[in-house]
């Protein structure tokens, strides 16, 4: 079962999202109000360890479990799409208090009104796909 390890990682992810209260609308509101270190500590410590680990992986030319060399693909250079897309996402993230990961975790946790957010997110994704050629990137 090649997908089992991804399900297992997802379970760990879901548990962390709940236990560290990242799924909470209140925590996101608090973060954007600069009234708690909690969310900054989570993202900050993940990024600091991520930077160190990514550097070490690149330097050691580490291989995946399948023996392939691990490649880090640089993201395309641009400002417009990242800034505009980022602002639009940020508006939604703060309003409903959920980014894509927590949307799924909240559903598992039994908060069914979040289905409306998921439905909206799918519509938004479709809208982007349809309008993409007309948007500045």
């Amino acid at each position: 079962m090649q997908y089992f390890k991804f399900i297992a990682l997802g379970i760990v992810f879901g548990i962390v999202m709940v236990k560290a209260e990242i799924i909470s609308w209140f925590r996101i509101f608090e973060m954007f109000s600069f009234q708690s270190f909690h969310m900054y500590g989570i993202i900050g410590s993940a990024v600091i360890l991520g930077v160190i680990g990514t550097y070490l992986l690149k330097r050691s030319k580490a291989k995946s479990i399948y023996g392939d060399e691990i490649v880090f693909v640089p993201k395309n250079k641009s400002i417009t799409r990242y800034l505009a897309g980022g602002i639009i996402f940020g508006l939604g993230w703060a309003l409903v208090g959920a980014c894509p990961g927590p949307i799924f975790v909240l559903l598992g946790a039994g908060y069914l009104p979040v289905l409306v957010i998921l439905f909206g997110a799918l519509i938004g994704t479709l809208l982007y796909g349809v309008t993409r050629s007309k948007l500045p990137h």
Binding site: F6, V12, A20, W25, M39, G41, F89, T125
Partner: protein, 185 residues
């Protein structure tokens, strides 16, 4: 065992998220949750509307498996690992929200004032959740990633585009919380 039932600190959660990212890298994949929305649109027939959804969805099954896991993880954590769901928010946050008329601030993960059944029966209540979702879906695809793809994976790889995206996340979030929400609530 007691620690399982207490809320986890940032210095527990952050490193675990980094470990999840590295595990996915060792499994030959990349941490990025919002890509699943694209895959779901593709599976649902979005490829008939836009070439953007003409992708080999099979290559994304691993990520859908991760989504399935995160749903299970949410269930397990709430059912078996939670003493009470009260969030210990800062006094300032509680005061601000009480000023907006919120009751039982932090009593549960989500506020009744936005996610309660009463709100779901109203047009504005549905519109808020649906509209927020549309912004999340549209914005993440436009920016090419969300908190996991840009803020964690991208910044870890010192990607300037990801830094621009994260700055965008914050501009949007700050506008919503400080300029728009005072008018909504």
């Amino acid at each position: 065992m007691d620690i399982l039932f207490q809320p986890w600190s940032w210095y527990v959660a952050g490193p675990i998220l980094a470990l999840i990212m590295f595990a996915l890298i060792f499994f030959g994949e990349n941490f990025g949750m919002s890509n699943n929305l694209r895959t779901m649109c593709a599976i649902g027939g979005g490829d008939k509307l836009s070439d953007f959804f003409k992708i080999n969805t099979k290559e994304q099954y691993w990520n859908l498996a991760f989504v399935l896991g995160s749903i299970l993880g949410g269930f397990i954590a709430v059912q078996f690992m939670t003493g009470d769901t009260a969030i210990h928010l800062s006094e300032g946050t509680v005061a601000t929200l009480e000023g907006y008329g919120f009751k039982n601030v932090g009593a549960d993960y989500l506020p009744e004032e936005i996610f309660g059944m009463e709100r779901l029966k109203s047009f504005t209540g549905i519109l808020m959740l649906l509209g927020g979702g549309i912004l999340v879906g549209f914005g993440t695809r436009y920016a090419g990633g969300c908190t996991s793809g840009h803020a964690i994976s991208g910044l870890s790889n010192l990607q300037v585009p990801s830094l621009i995206a994260v700055i965008g996340f914050f501009i949007g979030g700050l506008i919503m919380v400080h300029l728009i929400m005072p008018f909504i609530f």
